[in-house]
Symmetry: C2
């Protein structure tokens, strides 16, 4: 068999979900005997998979061992679970199944010990490595009886290492993977340790040199700490006789949560019998379930200091996961709240007799720190502290959800007021610090209780449609956004179909309403129907006027044909806000032909483009939205052409509402534009700047809003809107909403690795492309200014008809 070996390093990579950038379909070399099997439990964003691949490469390239690797992802973005199944051996590896009993098991994420049955995968006499800062009694207290019993019974070699602490100390932030890789080599014995150290260090130099010497040195330090800092835990004999905890889900939980969500979230979904799904045989799965997941994956979560809080709600606005929200209490509610659930006096018109609290949801928080970073108070009212210290806050969160419903004292169409609306998109699978989900969440706060969304594939599919949980939820009345997922190439057409059918149904109801007004003797119903016909299409009135009709229908004695029809189809009374949502890969590239066609139709549809300037979900390929000079997949030498100006292009139609917005730079502008887009009777598109982990923001994704602000201030992402309604009044429809670039474009670009890396890989080309970026930015702003300055002396003679 040895003679057949051609390449020692053969990695079979097969993803069980779409969320990956990895090539699939390579051969899996499977093994006979004397195999060392390893299993790693990691977080999508912690570099576990990358380090595992690296380890395989080191072993495959430098020894005569065979290597097999399979990486198993869940559907969540970088905050999701990854499991690496690795095998090494001197004979070909022929095991075409998961590693479920391993010589070496590592848990890279401390909180996973509460959720998953990880120790159960350690072979008798095997090694278990846990990344944790728990020590002594704290460790003892945090491990489950089951874990302790298994480790003791199997006489496992149990090690801990505080890789998270070490990485932070060295300056690697939350990038723990190099420390843990070194510990793996140290403890697994796959290679002689001196050789392993040499190979690892070589690999670090090779991999990171283009990211700069500082990063190389930090990683070399991480290797050394990983080799030395793992601590062997002596397992007391008493652990062997502990009794497993009984983990029966609370009977009060919905059946779906008990029987499907919880097992799947424990990574035990494969064990469910088919009969469990009998109730969902038609494929319709319950939403409003994400709140039961309680992933608890954050290292640190915010803690609120009411004495410093200025009540701006900005923390809530920017949270990608809706895990921090303002709550309003009546005086009575405040007085009867749990002791730790403190409140402060709410201020402002309409807030009389109300008290205010910012409440964190620690177990749904992803720990990005965006809320704390964005806090504008003189002394920050939010501080990031370890998750465990805040677990009691979970009860306060649950309590806050039981408070009485309050009428929003402010307009929902303001940065502050919007946050008193329930977000109907919560706890999604998005990365910590995601720049996209704050927009979707905001959209549901503005229109969610009557919203139909057509979602293009891409990140918003991966984090928005991940079984068993979906981030869409409902108000207490049971209304929420209806999300449907489509493809890159047809999402606009898909939305058009939804919109046409919604309009047709509503037109039919209107026809019957008109007939009912002619015939009914019920004056209350008549008045309600008339008011609905007159103003029921207006965004600000449609819910109230539809409710009035519903009440009148409930109380009428008239059961004539037309009244009966309206009653039967009262679901069509409220005007639906149809939005299509997708990324730049959809809107600028693959779906652009359809988007253009639908926009050109002149029909009343709304578009939200979450523009992170690349195909993030598949690992960061170049799109036409990618800026000049960015080094991304398919444009590794830096994209040579500047970003496509989708907004300006669509504004050429003259009857399409267009806005380019940036939540980090100007939230009020973002909300104003979303409101105008929804109100405009015709096609509307809002293009939103969305920082992304693929940008390599040096400051980290917790600073995404700050980064967004810098993007607009330096002219990289100008704000504007084009409102065709202005024409009617003789005003220029094109309005430039951000100021002259502040000259810091280069500084901005150097703060993101997508640009900065090019100075190391292709320094000469970088110089040319960055000059091009400067030129492009300058000229684009000048063009916008020129367009904004155009005279529109006369109003239009008439409204447009389509």
């Amino acid at each position: 068999m040895k003679g057949e070996k051609k390449n020692h390093f053969t990695v079979g990579i097969v993803d069980d979900v779409t969320n990956t950038s990895l090539p699939v379909g390579e051969n899996i070399v499977t093994a006979g005997n004397s195999i060392i099997s390893c299993k790693f439990w990691g977080l999508g964003s912690d570099g576990t998979v990358g380090a595992n691949k690296n380890s395989c490469k080191i072993i495959g390239d430098n020894t005569d061992q065979y290597v097999q690797a399979y990486f198993q992802y869940d559907a969540k973005k970088s905050g999701g679970l990854t499991r690496s199944h690795l095998r090494f051996g001197h004979e070909p590896i022929r095991s075409s199944y998961y590693v479920t009993m391993a010589d070496f098991v590592a848990c890279h994420k401390q909180s996973y010990m509460h959720t998953f049955d990880i120790a159960n995968e350690v072979k008798p006499g095997g090694t278990f490595l846990l990344n944790t800062h728990w020590k002594g009694e704290e460790l003892e207290a945090n491990l489950t009886n089951r874990t302790k019993r298994i480790l003791a019974e199997r006489k496992a070699n149990f090690y801990t290492i505080d890789a998270t602490g070490i990485a932070a100390e060295i300056g690697l932030g939350n990038r723990t993977s190099t420390v843990l890789q070194a510990a793996f080599f140290k403890l697994s014995g796959v290679l002689p340790i001196d050789k392993a150290e040499e190979y690892m260090k070589d690999a670090v130099v090779k991999t990171f040199s283009k990211k700069g010497e500082k990063i190389v040195n930090m990683n070399l330090a991480a290797i050394e700490r990983g080799l030395t800092d793992a601590v062997k835990i002596e397992i007391p004999e008493s652990w062997a006789s502990l009794k497993d905890e009984v983990r029966t889900p609370d009977k009060k939980l919905p059946k779906y949560v008990r029987e499907i969500l919880i097992p799947m979230d424990r990574a035990e979904g494969d064990l469910l019998p088919v009969s469990t799904f009998n109730d969902y045989a038609d494929g319709v799965m319950p939403i409003d379930a994400a709140r039961f997941e309680k992933r608890g994956v954050a290292d640190n979560v915010p803690v609120w200091d009411p004495s410093k809080c200025i009540g701006c709600n900005r923390c809530s606005l920017v949270c990608p996961h809706a895990a921090i929200r303002p709550f309003l209490f009546t005086e009575t509610e405040a007085a009867t709240a749990p002791l730790t659930c403190v409140t402060k006096k709410a201020v402002g018109k309409g807030f009389e007799a109300l008290r205010y609290r910012i409440q964190v949801d620690p177990l749904d928080c992803q720990g990005c720190g965006s809320c704390a970073n964005v806090c504008p108070a003189k002394e920050k009212a939010l501080t990031m502290v370890p998750l465990e210290s805040q677990l009691d806050e979970q009860k306060n969160w649950e309590h806050c959800l039981t408070l009485s419903e309050k009428v929003n004292p402010m307009s929902r169409f303001s940065a502050k007021g919007s946050q008193y609306e329930q977000p109907l998109y919560e706890f999604s699978g998005a990365c910590p610090g995601c720049g996209e989900t704050p927009y979707i969440k905001l959209l549901t706060q503005l229109f969610g209780d009557r919203m139909y969304a057509a979602n293009a594939t891409g990140c918003s599919q991966a984090y928005g449609f991940f079984a068993p949980t979906f981030p869409q939820t409902v108000t207490r009345r049971g209304f929420g956004p209806a999300f449907s997922n489509s493809l890159f190439e047809n999402n606009a057409e898909f939305a058009l179909g939804i919109s046409l059918s919604v309009d047709q149904l509503r037109e039919k109801t209107k026809m019957h309403a008109r007939a009912a007004i002619e015939t009914t003797k019920d004056q209350v119903l008549k008045a309600a129907l008339q008011a609905w016909l007159d103003h029921g299409d207006e965004n600000e009135h449609t819910v109230l006027l539809s409710d009035a009709v519903r009440v009148a229908l409930e109380n009428t004695d008239d059961n004539s044909e037309h009244v009966a029809y309206v009653k039967r189809r009262q679901d069509t009374l409220t005007k639906k806000a149809v939005w299509m949502i997708g990324g730049d890969g959809w809107a600028y590239d693959i779906g652009y032909g359809g988007l253009d066609h639908v926009m050109a139709s002149g029909l009343d549809l709304n578009v939200l483009v979450l523009d992170n300037e690349l195909y993030a979900n598949t690992g960061g390929q170049s799109s036409k939205a990618t800026p000049v000079g960015a080094s991304v997949q398919f444009a590794a030498a830096g994209k040579g052409t500047p970003k496509k100006d989708l907004g300006l292009i669509l504004s050429n139609y003259g009857y399409v509402y267009v806005a380019q917005v940036n939540l980090g730079a100007n939230p009020e502008h973002t909300i104003k534009c979303l409101k105008e887009a929804a109100a405009y009777k015709g096609p509307s598109i809002v293009i939103a700047y969305a920082p992304c982990i693929n940008h390599g923001v040096t400051k980290g994704m917790g600073r995404a809003m700050e980064e967004g602000k810098a993007a607009t201030e330096c002219g990289f992402w100008p704000l504007f809107h084009y409102n065709p309604n202005h024409e009617q009044a003789g005003k220029n429809p094109f309005v430039l909403d951000s100021g002259e670039p502040n000259g810091k474009l280069h500084e901005f670009m150097m703060g993101e690795n997508r640009f900065a890396s090019l100075t190391r890989t292709f320094p000469e080309r970088a110089e040319i492309l960055f000059a091009e970026a400067e030129e492009f930015t300058k000229r684009r702003y000048a063009k916008y200014k020129h367009l904004a300055g155009q005279d529109f002396p006369e109003g239009r003679a008439q409204e447009r008809i389509i």
Copy 2:
């Protein structure tokens, strides 16, 4: 069986080519016995099919007869052959095959009598109707012996009618169909003639009332003349003993022409055995064959008056079929030319010792009259006269083609100079007066000997790829444009692939050329290769420098590896001009996503959009290029949205060369823009206004150029170009090339039935949409002026790299 009849009128319409707007797939009701079968031979543009359908409807709707109809088209546009197969009867019709032996046969096109074996389809005792102005001896002289013998032998009832003359007299132009329909009813006896007259008149009122009373009255008059004006021809007994002509093709003709083209053109292609195609089993068919077709379908063709001609070549420039061209003679050639092949002194620098002649190709002319209409001479130098009077000119045409090749005394990049270049796109299947083919023809005169074209489906497919003839031809050296046909949805991508492969092959040749320069001792070859490397990419030098290399390769003794490679791949020496060509259905609609993507790539590719503002080939459906207020298929109530501004949209990239041109309005501008587009090192697009029979131009398609001129002058089609190279020099890249609208937009629109018909069908909406058109036109021009006025104070720091 009678009881089963539900609808007497069932038309089965199946086209044998794509060129149709008709629904397909309806049931064909077939017949048993006592069937009247009819066959009509018509020209695609003469209304035969429409009239036949109308006759079927009249019979089906008003009698208890069954009707079967099948319409057979060739691939040519409106100048092509149509054959209608009609059957009527009192029992269901079950004949699922062509009518090849009919009770009634009509030939609607006089010249067809020279080409097709039409009389052979008349049953013994049947009726044959010929639309002709031939009478008496002229008739006798023009009918073939075979026709005469068959008519006599079968004792046919032979009638003639001068429908062409009658239609012209009444004011119907070349629309002969109503006259011929009436004659059909009169002679076929399918209906009692008084009934038939009543039904026809009703139908005319119903069909044409939206086109105005004048048209109704003309058609009513046409019916009356059709009923009275057919003349029965007494057939002399002597005809029965005539001997058929022998129609053996000239042995000097190419085999392909003799064996395939000629039988297919006689509508006898179905009779060819498979073995005839043995030589073409790989699917590659010969081009340069259209010139053998000699369709002779024009009623009238131009005659040239040298005394009035000012030598501007405008007639040649606008001819859609390349059937009129200027020729230059040496004094000797002039002296030895046939007597009727008169010339006049050529004037201007470079024309010394040359004589000039405009030569018509009568049998390839389609008779639109565009050349005569466009002639700018004080007294027109071209007059349209009946084809038969000009048949002798065919010999002069053939003679002119034998003249010695002349170096173009002028730059080919001028309206006049371009016409001294051989058109490499001739005698296409386009409609008479087509607004598109003059652009393609011109393109081949500018770049054709080194042009690769990717053609999107649409009209340019129908008239450009119609077996057995293709309009692409070659120079005497054998160089011509390589046309490949693709689809709506991928033509840009298709062209990109062609371009990339061409570039790769050329790069490889350059690599070997550089190596050859290093090693060769042949100084001539070295110099030639160096010059080619230095300037061989430039449009104006590439042919000459490549030829120099070819000569040097021919004469060198060096047969080293690198020299041998260059020699072997000398086909790659000349820089190819890659053009993608398509209509607005491709560029604005179905292929737009790909077009946008390819333009955005920044690669060096050229696009010509033939914008006739609708899907002409499939019968005139609305595209995003269709202007507001146009009543077309899918927008019968008038398109509500204005025309998409493709040029301005693409200019937003900043690195795409864009031009909007109009041959009728400004030929020099058209040529300048095509030249700049080809020269620009990056993506280029030229959007060309193309009047179309689907516009319903009241003046007729012979006035297409005049109509185009009016379109630009009234602001309907402004001219501009956007040249990114201007930026480098600190100039504004956007240049507006046409003047302020002259206020005659409404007049222009009323001169085209696509707009004018709306005032009759939806008068109120027409008013609104036409006001919108005025507004749009005004604002668009203002926007262009504003863009053209933008300051571009500084030059670019550097050239772009992609």
